[in-house]
Symmetry: C2
Subunit: 343 residues, 2 copies
DNA sequence: GGTTAGCACTCGATGCATTTGAGTGCTAAC
DNA sequence: GTTAGCACTCAAATGCATCGAGTGCTAACC
């Protein structure tokens, strides 16, 4: 396929995309000449648009309805035409201001983050909570509850807390628990969670430990707690999508909200971006969630020091204002990293 | 207002309500005679229905469209006509089965609960997380993070964990933290959180403590952590509402989803039920959330022993199957109490 | 007097033909 | 290569007649 576009073709394509982003309506040849001071007649533009359609950048819903940019066009736009500006002072200010609620736990910060993303972008904000595995172990605690129930609390360097209530097989005294705590904290100090897991397995085979019931029980309990639970995800601003004219149809709405109830799929999608460059963009059908074929996702990962913790992003219609949203996502990710990081 | 309904009026009202619950369409006089073996002609039924309209139990959308039960009718239905059956074996089984996912923290159990409520009722499930204040103090822990950040973890009897990251005013050594922990755990043992708060205030005025910087700092930290944060709420199954024909309209949908983004209002609403009888029902406009005027809420509170912890419920259209949903809500609340309780 | 059959009337929903207008594609002239 | 001109297309809007479920009223019936 020959995608070498002439300068003029690019201009016209950009004009169509710009217009479509603004109006969500198919764009006709006249509109292009009128709104973008091109010294060309509609007829000429039509010819060019016809070529662009041939090449797969445009498509027409029906014969007499103007043309709409395809996913391919948006991809080209994002890769080649788009000039992403730096984030404005105002937006920075706005984001900082919204973070200015003091004294909260990590979960609240993440929820707040997705609210910020949604309210500033006017689309949907999404934040996938840190994968515990990416973290550095800090401390483990056992708290005795009623009966044989034990609450195991696991804390990472960045202050992320994971806890589970576990039914122990036999009664454990408070002293037992203290001993277990000390043993484990010593053993696991400074390891990443991934290393912790390996270490536990190794330690369980150690002669000395195998004969100390308490220790091996401690290992078992911590192993259970470490089981990766389904990652939490915070989604805010779903109503914003209802304001988009292209979704003002009951059937499509159902589709979309179904997608958002199936959070695991979304998590999978975002997880792919954990290792990618700073900002990642999926356009329309590129993100293999068939139900999201009219939507784009802009993601960025956040980190604490060298450890990538998780991913956040904005979900909007394919025709979203990429130039406006990309800096927002990027900056918010950096802010969140700062908040969770070591400073 | 004279609401003494004759037996026949009641039968007809019930027939209209039943039919409306099934179809979501205005009910005409013929339908009433046809589907409910009443030995009456449509004309007679019309007369009665006219009376019922007069009394405010029915209303007609327009002249030739049959009649629709009003909120008042549903209130009467729930209070006087409805015979709530016991929960079926199958449903019990289903609920138990869905709870059968082991080893999770309280948050996950609550989320699961709202999923259960939604999937079994086919409406929206909602669970308000336990108000920490209603709980009995179990343990406090301080974990040193990077720099001056300290993670404070508060655990209640029922295994509910509340945590906050706090920026301390000066460096605290690990030993300091251990001393603080021991002091507080001793001081606060066995009190309810409400009592804990009072105790902290009192203790801060104690001569001995005022001169021990470490102790007073410990009290301050715990005080900050105890600040009631916005209650968490878990809402699941919002898509279910999209299936209801009476909401198959873009404008109304927007309304509804707006309501669900404003979680604080929902929490307020449910909080009112904390102290009420087992099952509580709000019909339509009765729940002062103007945006929810076409919806009903069925709630029940859950507890751990004598302490009411929180509220859960199902939100559906006013015409929901009350007889089906009430036992589900009731039973789920009991199950959850059991899970969180002391057994 | 309550009940019912009969009938005129109402009003949204449905279907169909017509019009409108934005937009295209093609051709011929510039 | 560009453009004016024109026939053509097609969704959307408009107008209009029809349909039918349902009502309210009246007069007859038991």
């Amino acid at each position: 396929m020959n995608d070498n576009l002439s300068e003029r073709s690019r201009q016209i394509l950009e004009a169509v995309i710009d217009d479509y982003i603004r109006t969500a309506e198919p764009v006709g040849s006249r509109t292009v000449t009128r709104r973008h001071g091109l010294a060309l007649s509609p007829a000429t533009v039509r010819n060019v648009m016809s070529d662009l359609e041939e090449m797969g950048f445009l498509s027409s819903p029906h014969t007499s309805a103007g043309r709409v940019p395809t996913d391919k066009a948006f991809r080209f736009y994002v890769d080649s035409l788009l000039h992403v500006p730096a984030i404005t002072e105002n937006q920075q200010e706005e984001i900082r201001r919204q973070y200015q609620v003091p004294g909260r736990d990590v979960g609240e910060i993440l929820k707040e983050t997705s609210k910020i993303l949604s309210s500033i972008s006017n689309y949907i904000g999404i934040v996938v909570a840190p994968r515990f595995a990416a973290n550095v172990f800090r401390q483990i605690e056992f708290v005795k509850l009623f009966g044989r129930r034990i609450l195991v609390i696991l804390v990472s360097e960045s202050g992320i807390v994971q806890n589970r209530v576990i039914e122990a097989e036999e009664d454990l005294s408070t002293e037992d628990l203290v001993r277990m705590t000390n043993y484990l904290n010593e053993l696991l100090h400074g390891l990443t969670i991934a290393e912790v897991k390996a270490r536990i397995v190794r330690e369980m085979q150690d002669e000395k430990v195998r004969y100390d019931k308490l220790l091996s029980r401690a290992l078992k309990l911590s192993e259970v707690t470490l089981e990766e639970s389904a990652a939490d995800v915070f989604i805010e601003g779903q109503v914003n999508i209802l304001e988009q004219p292209e979704f003002a149809d009951v059937e499509r709405m159902k589709e979309i909200f179904h997608t958002f109830e199936e959070k695991s799929q979304l998590i999978n999608l975002l997880d792919c971006c954990m290792k990618a460059d700073r900002v990642n963009i999926f356009i329309g059908a590129e993100n293999f969630l068939s139900r999201m074929n009219q939507m784009s996702v802009i993601t960025a990962s956040y980190a604490s020091g060298p450890n990538t913790l998780g991913v956040l992003g904005v979900i909007g219609p394919t025709r979203m204002g990429y130039d406006r949203v990309i800096p927002i996502v990027d900056y918010t990710a950096r802010m969140l990293s700062e908040l969770l990081g070591r400073e």
